[in-house]
Assembly symmetry: D2
Homo-oligomer: 182 residues x 4
């Protein structure tokens, strides 16, 4: 094919994983603001969902074998938001370039708690804790072990030493529907 | 059931048909505006889609037998937008109450051209001509005759005398995939 | 004027206050859903903001004198969201009619905590606690006493007996118009 | 400053100008789709607005002196959409990478007509002609000559030979800053 693929032409379109955290740049456009002059509060949820989607996209690229194993086990899987806690600390404005930082906080048997931050020039504008449930075929399912391994590999990189604790903590109470947790 | 249904509690939620035209009230909220202080231009497309959806909903209620006959012929049918021409004449602002006026302009064999206006206190803010194609089972289909009859009944009420011309005009060129057009 | 005003033509456009709670009907349109077939999670924040906006609108109509006193004291005031906790319990779908129920949970000196629910046929789909700060002239301000009185009047109606506690509790530190609110 | 600026870290965030045309990559997320499984029609207007905004941003970077001259003459200027014609040819879907292609079609005294296309892998999904009016200080104004020169420089690159005709054609009636443009 003569034409370059979009991923080659725009290498950072899905953001990047740095130190185990996913970082996605987001530009503020007219559509994101409201007449009060600042970014509309629900727009940040759209940005954070973009971050989660691209985070999963890059995990899939980085840990392809694990991801394909998970896909075979639970085809068409997705994560759906079950609950969120959000603090709106400072406003963003038209033309700002924000970075959406996403990292797994706790990987359980059937859900993942993510920590997400919206930052500008390193300062935090919005902070959120988001619990997403694993869904396949229209209903909640245990997260396949290969996918949990991939998620925890990132977490271990983000917080050296913390990865093992989580594994122990989560496995201890029987919070594992498959028994295959490493 | 002790509780009243939403349609009884909120009788005008889907707007109303007046003189063959569908009228839907729309309140302007934060989400509809942008930092320039006025309504974001793409918001009007959302309002006009609400108008088309509720127009079809009320046609379905007013002409139930025709609508059910159409549904049997083409289950799960929908109209999808093929093209639009839009003039943005005057801006709307936060807290405004707008009326979205929708009427069929031309009912053909497989598509309908609608005339839509966004008004405030009777003055026109946005004018659009929208061509929608009839789709069922994922592909374009001829509009079932009963549905065309229902659409044209409204058009005849909106423009007395014009209804017949259209019927003649559209039927004349063989622009009818079923032959059942009255 | 020959033409009826929108508020006369569409009497329930801003919802209604029932038993001290504001109830706003919201129809689900294409714009509110996503390709997974259900309502996009951030859409509920738009609905809840509509509920808060219309709740304030109706308080303004019901307690006009109090509201006008507040407006003189703090012109162009608004409430801005500081934090939210949200539980997404069940999905809504295209064409659903939802009711957004809003009630003040705690009225403090400079912020209000609201309890909001998204319901369908009486069942709760989404539950949220929303803390909004009072802002006038671009910065946080104490809520003028007349506005707090209006908000608490609704709360007292929603939860007989609870209103007084809150008044006492919050009022203790100097609950007046002079900016001494703790 | 130790930290890299967003523009250095994410070099293509505002797209790129290629052969006189602005190209902006846009990823499709949940927020852009609807329950019919494809991209919601009004989402394309948001994408095209992003394209226009970043096109102007890059013109400002490429022709800084001209742009600064225009900004001195008409501070806080913006382009607002006056009319659009749109053809929806093929649907886009979740996860698609689209390119929004924007080029000036005609640069007049007080407005610009832009040609915009939404493409995927080189195929056109949506085509639009958008007329934007130049606004400064809240009202329509003649486009300052330096800005028109910058816009036409791009057009000349996009369509060799055509640029001069336009310059002649539009310039004929008094192509200057005095408001005499036809």
């Amino acid at each position: 094919m003569a034409e370059a693929s979009p991923n080659q032409t725009w290498p950072h379109l899905a953001g990047a994983i740095r130190d185990g955290r996913h970082v996605l740049p987001v530009r503020i456009y007219y559509e994101d603001t409201d007449f009060s002059g600042i970014v509309y509060h629900a727009s940040y949820l759209r940005f954070m969902e973009r971050g989660r989607t691209d985070y999963l996209r890059l995990i899939g690229a980085d840990h392809r074998a694990l991801f394909e194993a998970a896909s075979r086990e639970t085809p068409g899987f997705a994560f759906v938001v079950r609950s969120m806690g959000i603090e709106f600390l400072k406003p963003a404005r038209m033309d700002d370039v924000l970075e959406i930082v996403t990292e797994p906080d706790e990987v359980k048997g059937a859900s993942v708690t993510l920590s997400q931050r919206v930052t500008r020039d390193g300062g935090v504008l919005v902070e959120a804790t988001v619990r997403v449930a694993f869904v396949s075929g229209g209903r909640a399912r245990p997260i396949p072990a290969p996918l949990r391994i991939a998620l925890r590999a990132d977490r271990a990189r983000a917080r050296p030493g913390a990865g093992n604790e989580t594994l122990t903590m989560v496995g201890a109470g029987g919070d594992d529907m498959t028994g295959q947790v490493p």
